[in-house]
Amino acid sequence: MSTLENMREITFGKAVNEAISEEMRRDPTVFMIGEDIAEAGTTFKVLKGLVEEFGPQRIIDTPISEAGFAGIGVGAAMTGMRPIVDIMFGDFITLTMDQMVNQAAKIHYMSGGTLKVPMVFRTTLGATRRSGAQHSQSLHAWLCHVPGLKVVIPSTPYDAKGLMKSAIRDDNPVVIFEDKMLFQQKGLVPEGEYTLPFGVADIKRAGTDITLVGTSSMVQVALEAAEILSALGISAEVIDPRTLKPLDAETLIKSAKKTSRAIVIDEGHLGYGVTAELASIIADGAFYYLDAPVKRLGAMDVPVPFSPPLEDATVPNSEQVIELAKTLCGRV
């Protein structure tokens, strides 16, 4: 495990870059395929330097052809490689859905276990980048609905690196959603080797009065709210599931049992979203310990507006969390 001595502060993007570089050095079957990932190092510059080290045979730029290169990835995985398919914006999974849902997720099952698909789909989520309705969605809930896929949703540089390495080594198709607004966020990351297990939630802040479950960038929103709530005498516990499939339901339920109240915050649309699933799991598992209904905060059920003030208004923020928490704690 890491010690404080070898910790450095690096960005989320750099942590992802390190994870992929380390795994590519470690395992020659790992390669990447996607749009603008080689010379450009992706739109977000996260993969900068990879093509220089590993060459264009392992960092493969493709034409605009998501369905095609996703299929190449699935085929390569079935035949012994460990591809990382880079889908520039999470919005574009509309084009790769067949490969993800009907191929990657099903083949191990349908082949009676004789074939496996050890691949990673790496893509983004998150609004407030002024990118318009077709480049700002958080569609991770769609893939959580498909048995056979694992869904990973890191919130910190430390988690991003450890989870990416685990994803690459996993023998199943894993979809990683990185919030494009988090790439510049800095955090402590140990130098060198470590992996983080799937299905283990992380308690980002301990508390006793209310549980705030946040995912991806909403973890930061929850932490900001918890800080202000603590000044109001409300002790909030912030939990980051880190992986939605598999999900660490036990930690969520245990925390809600302890605090008697819970709010789930996720940047996907509220309706039929991740928050609904998590809230339902908490309400079910902690029912006799709850002193208030489990509440949810998600993106408004509208296309993400291009106008910055309108766009900002569609995403949950810490003020909303604080108000809701105060209400649940009987403090308004």
Binding site: S260, Y288, Y289, L290, D291, G330
Partner: protein
Amino acid sequence: MPTEIFMPALGMNQEFGKIVEWLAKEGQTVVKGQPVLVVETDKATVELEATTTGKLVNVTARDGDDVPVGKVIALIVNEAEAVPLPAALALELETPISCAVAVQTPDSVSSSAAANVKLASPLAARIAEEHRLDLSQVPCTGKRIQKEDVLAYLAKQEAALQTQVGRKTASPKARRLAREHNIDLHGLPGSGQGGALLAEDIIKAVEAHANQPGAGMASTGASLPVMQIPAAAPTEIPANHMWQVMARRMTESWQTIPHFYLEAEANATRLKAWRTRLLDRLEEKVSLTDLLVKLVAVALRRHPRINASWVDGAIQSNPEINIGLAVAVDGGLMVPVIRNADQLGIQALGVKRKALVTGALAGRLPLTDLCGGTFTISNLGKFPCIDNFTAIINPPEAAILALGRIADKVLAVDGEVMVQPVLRMTLSCDHRVIDGARGAEFLQTLTELIDDPLAILE
């Protein structure tokens, strides 16, 4: 704008106040400055005055209710203003006037020639439509059906649904706790939304139950045969708010403060002589207590360590010498405080003490006279049988002085046997602030001052 009347915070750490009595009734017109209700807090009974002139409405708490600090308990409205009653309440209080409703289509308007047909406002109509309400069922209180009418109707329907289901609203946790503690939810007051019972309501009920004598036996009694001894049921003596506060504070003091005791006796001959002289000289009658307060104040000035507090792991020396006097009153115990007792002359001390004791007995002391004590004197000297006793420290003070009676005793004075008046006393000390030697030094000074009151001039 209506003016809110809310439960005031009259003391630090006060969470609840009890409504002793409403002096003005709902609907009555009150004048600015007129006492509206009497509130009892940890420290005192206080009259709340109207801050404006108007009609008293929306009284939501009754006599005897414990109300959280800050909660609005009534409104004073300008007579001209509409009364902003909560929708549900409005329905209960006013007899709804049913009125026919014309849906706003050309047909029905033209067909209903009757003059008393009334319309609904567009907003009311929209809300009704959203809730799939038949507008003709909604009673209206004005010329046409307003939003308030629809909301009131919806609230009433909701309430009716609950009654129909016959289920008290309670959180799942509250329900589980009630089951585990075998408590009936009905009749318990709920602090949640719409009066829903929350976990803390159940915990309060459990605690209240546990405090009843004999409670606890029943819940642990399982199947063991219990010998039934016929006996008269114990009578419960209602403990008022003041008594509850005393019980809580004394328990806290006894459980958290490491007490130790120092006993002393002083020759009261000169003290009594002093008083006799003062009775001749001063217009106001002074008591032995007044003289002892003075002497204690002087001793405290010489030993500031006794006039201190233990606060968050540190000793805090109090800049003022404020002496509290324990006074037994009807409902319990009160400790009015003589501020800066070291700076008052004997006569002023006597006047102040009398005013405070009278106020305490009447239960009408302002809070300022009950706060800020730094040392307390408890005097049971008027009981001829009490030679000496020990007292429990009144936090956050560090010491309390218990005074017994002054009684004649056989003493050896300058090699001769004499009978002289002797005062016995016990100092209870908080060992976190005061050690044995420091306590003894203070008591030594005090004893010497009683032996020879002139020494206050030194």
